[in-house]
Symmetry: C2
Subunit: 404 residues, 2 copies
Amino acid sequence: MFRVNENFAKLPGSYLFATIAKKVAEYKEAHPESEIIRLGIGDVTQPIAPAIIEAMHKAVDEMGRAETFRGYAPEQGYDFLREVIAKNDFQARGCDISADEIFVSDGAKCDSGNIQELFSADSVIAVCDPVYPVYVDSNVMAGRSGQYNAESGRFDRIVYMPCREENGFLPELPKERADIIYLCFPNNPTGEAIGKEELQKWVDYANEHGSVIIYDAAYEAYISEDGIPHSIYECEGAKTCAIELRSFSKKAGFTGVRLGFSVIPKELKCGDASLNAMWFRRQGSKYNGTPYIVQRAGEAVYSPEGSRQVSEQIARYMKNAGTILNGLKGLGYTAYGGVNSPYIWLKTPAGMKSWDFFDFLLDKANVVGTPGAGFGPSGEGYFRLTAFGTYENSLKALDRIARI
Amino acid sequence: MFRVNENFAKLPGSYLFATIAKKVAEYKEAHPESEIIRLGIGDVTQPIAPAIIEAMHKAVDEMGRAETFRGYAPEQGYDFLREVIAKNDFQARGCDISADEIFVSDGAKCDSGNIQELFSADSVIAVCDPVYPVYVDSNVMAGRSGQYNAESGRFDRIVYMPCREENGFLPELPKERADIIYLCFPNNPTGEAIGKEELQKWVDYANEHGSVIIYDAAYEAYISEDGIPHSIYECEGAKTCAIELRSFSKKAGFTGVRLGFSVIPKELKCGDASLNAMWFRRQGSKYNGTPYIVQRAGEAVYSPEGSRQVSEQIARYMKNAGTILNGLKGLGYTAYGGVNSPYIWLKTPAGMKSWDFFDFLLDKANVVGTPGAGFGPSGEGYFRLTAFGTYENSLKALDRIARI
């Protein structure tokens, strides 16, 4: 009899956002009259910008004519997109990254789930706590986690790096072995960013200890302050120790369009094994390229018009972020994030548990957020709200919270 | 120091089609005047059908308006697409498959590469020989292959099922343990189909021995003869032993649009572990849904207009297939396939090695095909041509082959 991958059974419960969706659906069924404001899952609400829509229509037309039809795309992405990414996102910031170090994909979630395939089965991974669940879940499925301890809420072979109020939500360098270190800045879920000097310490640590940093910069476009690196390659030595993941989901509202990319520098090696060459082989064997139409949409994000339009969208979301952050503070809440990211990370009132606060807020204010505990044990007592709603709904949510 | 996944080093050379692309590019550089006809990689050439183009334009417009904008799609696909698939591809053929057993994806290559994640690390896999490289390569990367033996061209922990002229290109039931059996019919690369009675023997074997069949039906739309099953679920008992993979790449020319799906029946279990539930979890954690625009394109494939238009495209490719098959036979070649599939599988003349024939054909006729040996040792001495070119080029290729 065939046997299944037994590591799946170690995963506690279902995927976080699936649980939330289910709870909200149940509440809605019990209270059909309720008008729910969703500030839970990090999904955008503004439509795709006009310049990008135009580029997609053009690409659709090309697909409908024999002379311009495109079949299989290169697995690593079309040159037209890789080049504009290398130039705008890296070279323009002084990062020496070339087009052949960029691998276009259908989004950072897939990449952040798949990237662990490059590493040995016994690698020790280190994650921030709280953390985006995909890093942990994909390593659990691959058998690197050890056993789950329900009491601590932790896997016994994973190194957890707590990020709480006490350390300004910045992890401390691991004291134990950590082969693969996942960092996400600006952070999901805390919304806090990391300064360049602080990030340089991680790069130095990784080079010294032979660790690889998986740097998830999905929220880079929301950085508003100086001194916050947009890419880990702004740090010296990062090309020998870091992979960077990027997403168009939050930058240009592509959550339903699906586009992202990974940067794997050619200098990143373990002995003779080049991670760039391995990922090229992995994608060549298990991925079949990002849709042509979507890659043209991505290209349009960098056009003068597209670039201006997505900046305006981000500014609108950041207005929401400021409104929620300051509104909550005005109501006496302790809240973080919201300055260099679209997430507000608030302390639950009176030490309420995260999931209790979720139920409380859903019931009393019809507002959906994400319980901090869903991101890891150190998220207990915290709660994430997103700035991705409309301005009107952000105000309305605040108003309802004020009336509780 | 971090360590890489050492299984990658076991993969011999690069991905087959990458090697071919490189060889052709080199030839083209050395002979810039040559006009090369590409009948190698199975990529389509006809543009996307008008009804599908229209549906995509409509979906693009929806993405550009706040009222109709769609963010994250359900990871398992939108209901509108899953339902039309269940109805048309399965229920209409008497297969009791429901929408919640269908998981929409960005293509069968990803699914066929990822599906092995559901099984235990020590599972023994069985593959036809010759075979589509992804089944083997994804299991090599996951550590199930054992060592590669350069002399035999085989991995020592994989069960190979030769498909050659002697057995009518149909594999024999394995005599040794085989937990996961990959079958592809109509077959890539041989182009041969399997009859329903013959396939029933595999389903019975799998149920009896506790094996799972991964049934790749990517070329189902090319079946022209009666008595050839379009789905493995036409066989009794398949729901307790088989996963089916489907693609829109060849059915509707979606190689650059990217759409496919997997069928995992709820009855398919190992003890309490439901493979349907595990894949739901896997996709929820590591996949972020197929683009909305692409799912609407898929829906249009089933509309009366779309359905008629893609049938016409397939008829055009099958006219090429018949022309190439009969043309080669007329020239004295022994050739197979081409009746229920877009692939023609020919024996190289005078026992020439596959790669020698590749070079010979490229040089003497400027025609690119795929060396049979690239699909496995039993493909040695064979060569694959595809019917996906234009009719004009199919004739021209034949004419050039005739003049060699």
